[in-house]
Symmetry: C2
Subunit: 335 residues, 2 copies
Amino acid sequence: MVTVHDVAARSGVSIATVSRTLRVPHRVSGDTRDRVLAAIEELGYRPNRAAASLRRGRTGVIAFVVPDIENPYFASLTKGAQAASRARGYGLVVVDTTESAEVESEEIRALRSQIDGIILVSSRLPDEQLLEVAEGAVSVLINRDLGDRSPATPSVAIDEAAASDAAVAHLAELGHRRLAYVGGPAHSWSQERRARGVRDAVAARPGLTLAELADVVPTAAGGRAVADAVLGGGVTAVLAYNDLVALGLLAEWGERGVRVPEDISLVGFDNTFVAELSSPLLTSVGTDLRDAGEAAVELLLQRVEATDSDAPAAYRTLRPELVVRASTAPVRTAD
Amino acid sequence: MVTVHDVAARSGVSIATVSRTLRVPHRVSGDTRDRVLAAIEELGYRPNRAAASLRRGRTGVIAFVVPDIENPYFASLTKGAQAASRARGYGLVVVDTTESAEVESEEIRALRSQIDGIILVSSRLPDEQLLEVAEGAVSVLINRDLGDRSPATPSVAIDEAAASDAAVAHLAELGHRRLAYVGGPAHSWSQERRARGVRDAVAARPGLTLAELADVVPTAAGGRAVADAVLGGGVTAVLAYNDLVALGLLAEWGERGVRVPEDISLVGFDNTFVAELSSPLLTSVGTDLRDAGEAAVELLLQRVEATDSDAPAAYRTLRPELVVRASTAPVRTAD
DNA sequence: TTGAAAGCGCTAACAC
DNA sequence: GTGTTAGCGCTTTCAA
């Protein structure tokens, strides 16, 4: 292993100068800098992070905690976070909690002392526990919000009201009047906001009616299971909790001869890549998740690197975009 | 921050004993052990990993390098690796190389000194560079194999010959005689083995013919692009390079009135979760990817923790399973 | 079985 | 602008 001592010897300076050349190059004369850099190159020197961490009290690693890395939604967020942290020279430890609050809290506890900061995505922890975690470490939340309870914790959230409104507006414009919303898990943070958003958007448009299905398992299987129940009542357009549920509806309907969009229009949430896997392609509303992942990293590092806690907490609200694909069409028959 | 000193003071022993209690408990008397453990509990002591790493020369972190975390195939592998490394007390740094060999080699270089080992999944590096990496660190390969060139590097691979054979056998049994294989990227390691496997399986069954399409982009869009080209020549069943390509074919055919499985049967490779997103559900052949990820971690840690390099290199070949779903059916008309 | 003590490689005062 | 030096918290001889 090559150490600062080797580099120092090779370039005829002290170890302090070697360290300075790397950390504060402007405090080293151009001449020495060149010599040190050359020696580093020749020797293939790589600073030992463990040593630096021990001395500086910082590890250069941040944790990214997701409920399920196989879920396309979280995979995209992770991709963005990964790229951003790499670009900033930080390592990203990805933790998959398998949707379990216990695993989540256990992992966080184990990690706490080894990382500079933590990003919690769609945390499954109850508010009080989440609060404790958030206060106990430099942290950023995605899809959760402690509000006044922890004004120092930044969060990144998607403007679900805007998303819902865009989706409903699109369907209304196509002439749909009787809508249905297939909701997700009962107490999910996103579900609550999406359901409210859809209700508000419908209420704001006279003549629209809304049927709601609650507590659907947020997977394709969940969608298939309720495909039948959604139909009827003259519903001509359906909004699904997420793309996966939408694809489940689509598949099951297809097998029962219900055609999309001829018989019924369908809109998903999140606009994940699976929206481009189906036939017809799925109209979906969502934000760029990679951007969201990046934003969270930026927010986190801003705090990590803040000399003291001078950086104000930032709440980043991301604007979603409706991507119209083939699963929505003008309502067929006037009611 | 609570340190060994605090625990030592609290329990009336030396810091050495505190350390021993955690690392080699059997060398501490039951009595002292209890006292130390109690103090640790009361104080909430967590060993500082940076310090331990510096002293022991090991970091407790392994790297998992994938081309694209958004790809369901790699996401599932990652999920398995994540669970396995957590269970063994190691941190997992996930690196997404965005399918770029440069990014891959750069990241590996940067990481090398900070990790105990590295798992390279479907590496995009050319053989000689891969060899260099594999020799320069404790490493395990998934979906690559250096063979004699680096007999010390374990690898985990799926038995593609068996997979291809199972798929072809299934179609042959259903009465299909004219098959087509939609291949993946020209020089991909998996593609080469899958193509060979399919060819061999077809050759082994008199009466079967095979049409091959090469160098298809391994995504749904890639599949859509060649949906037309595959048809014709009396082909009644198609094998696709992976599930994504299969879904692309399925979607495009659907829009052109070609029905699956009535008009044509379709089989995907990998059996990722997207095979359950379509209508009809996709017949697909693959191994449990989480298991593969776990296996790689086991192999790696076995070497990491080997006192010296006593552990023999292990080549783990995983047996794939064919999951028959609705996209395959008996050939409709006798030829 | 336990303790004293020597560093692991690096950074950051502090002197010059 | 550069060098000297004192640790960061831990593990591990070596002695007792």
